[in-house]
C-alpha cells in the first residue's frame, strides 16, 4: 500500500509541477497579440491594404521609440541638474518612501526615479493593431489614440519630476 502511495505522489508532482510554473507572462500576451495580427493579416487579400497595415504597425513602433528617445534626453538633463544640486548641498544619499521624502531633494529623487521607470515601461509597450474586427482604420486609430494617451501620461510624469526638482532648486539656491 505504501508503494502505491509513493507512486501516486511522484506521478502527481510530476504532472502538476510544470502546470504550476506555466504562468502567463506579459511576453506571452505580446506574442499572442502578434500571432493574432499575423494571422488576421494573412486573411486580407488586398495587397495594398496589407502593406498599409504593415506600415501603420511599423509607424506605431517608430513613434513610441522616437518620442521615448526624446523624453529620455529630458530625464537625463533633469537628472544631471539634480546631481549638481546634490553635490552643491553635499548630499550623498536620498532616502524616500512612497513619495514622502523628508527634504525637497528626497522628494525630487523619488519623482525622478518614478519618471525614469515610467519611461522604461513605455518603451516596452506594444501597440500592434487588433485588426481582427474587420474595420482596419478604426483598429489603427484605436492603437494610435492609446499610444498618444500613454505618451501624454509619461510626459506628465516627467513634468512632475521637473516641478519637484525645481522646488528643490528654489529651496536650496536662494
Amino acid at each position: 500500500m505504501r508503494k502505491v502511495f509513493l507512486i501516486l505522489l511522484i506521478l502527481t508532482s510530476l504532472l502538476i509541477g510544470p502546470s504550476v510554473y506555466a504562468r502567463t507572462t506579459p511576453e506571452d500576451i505580446q506574442n499572442q497579440t502578434r500571432f493574432n495580427f499575423e494571422n488576421n493579416l494573412s486573411k486580407i487579400e488586398d495587397p495594398k491594404k496589407k502593406q498599409l497595415i504593415l506600415s501603420a504597425d511599423q509607424q506605431l513602433k517608430n513613434i513610441n521609440q522616437t518620442v521615448c528617445n526624446r523624453l529620455e534626453l529630458d530625464i537625463n538633463k533633469l537628472s544631471a541638474i539634480f546631481e549638481e544640486l546634490k553635490s552643491r548641498e553635499n548630499v550623498t544619499n536620498t532616502i524616500v518612501a512612497y513619495g514622502q521624502g523628508s527634504t525637497p531633494l528626497d522628494t525630487a529623487a523619488y519623482y525622478l526615479n518614478y519618471a525614469a521607470e515610467a519611461l522604461a515601461y513605455q518603451r516596452a509597450q506594444d501597440y500592434t493593431p487588433a485588426i481582427g474586427g474587420g474595420n482596419l482604420k478604426s483598429a489603427i486609430n484605436y492603437s494610435s489614440n492609446n499610444l498618444k494617451s500613454n505618451l501624454g501620461t509619461l510626459q506628465n510624469k516627467i513634468l512632475r519630476a521637473k516641478s519637484e526638482v525645481k522646488k528643490a532648486i528654489n529651496a536650496y539656491e536662494k
Partner: protein
Amino acid sequence: MKNKQSFSTNKLITFLLVVLLLGTFLSLGNLFLNKTNPQTLINPDGKTLLQQITNQNISPTPTPSPTPIEYHFDKTTDLKQEIETINPEVKNSDFDNLNKITNQF
C-alpha cells in the same frame, strides 16, 4: 478499527487519484497552449508567418536608441535657467506619418 483505517486509506487514495486526474488535464491543457504559441510556429526556414506573407524581414526594434547625451554641470551653472530649457512634449507632428497612412484606408 481496521475498517476505519481502510476507510480513511480509501479516501486518501481517491483524493490522490482526483488530484492526479486534475494534474493530467492541466498538463494536457498546457501542452495545447504551448502548441498555439506563435513562437513555435516559426517555419523550418526560420521565417515567421508575417515574414513569409510580406517576404521581408521586420526588425522588432526598428528605431535604435540615440547615443545618450551626458550632461555635465558645475558650480557656475545657473540651474534655475537650465531647468527651464527642459520641455518634455508629445507633438502632434509625431503622428503625421501615421495619419497619412490611416487616411489612405
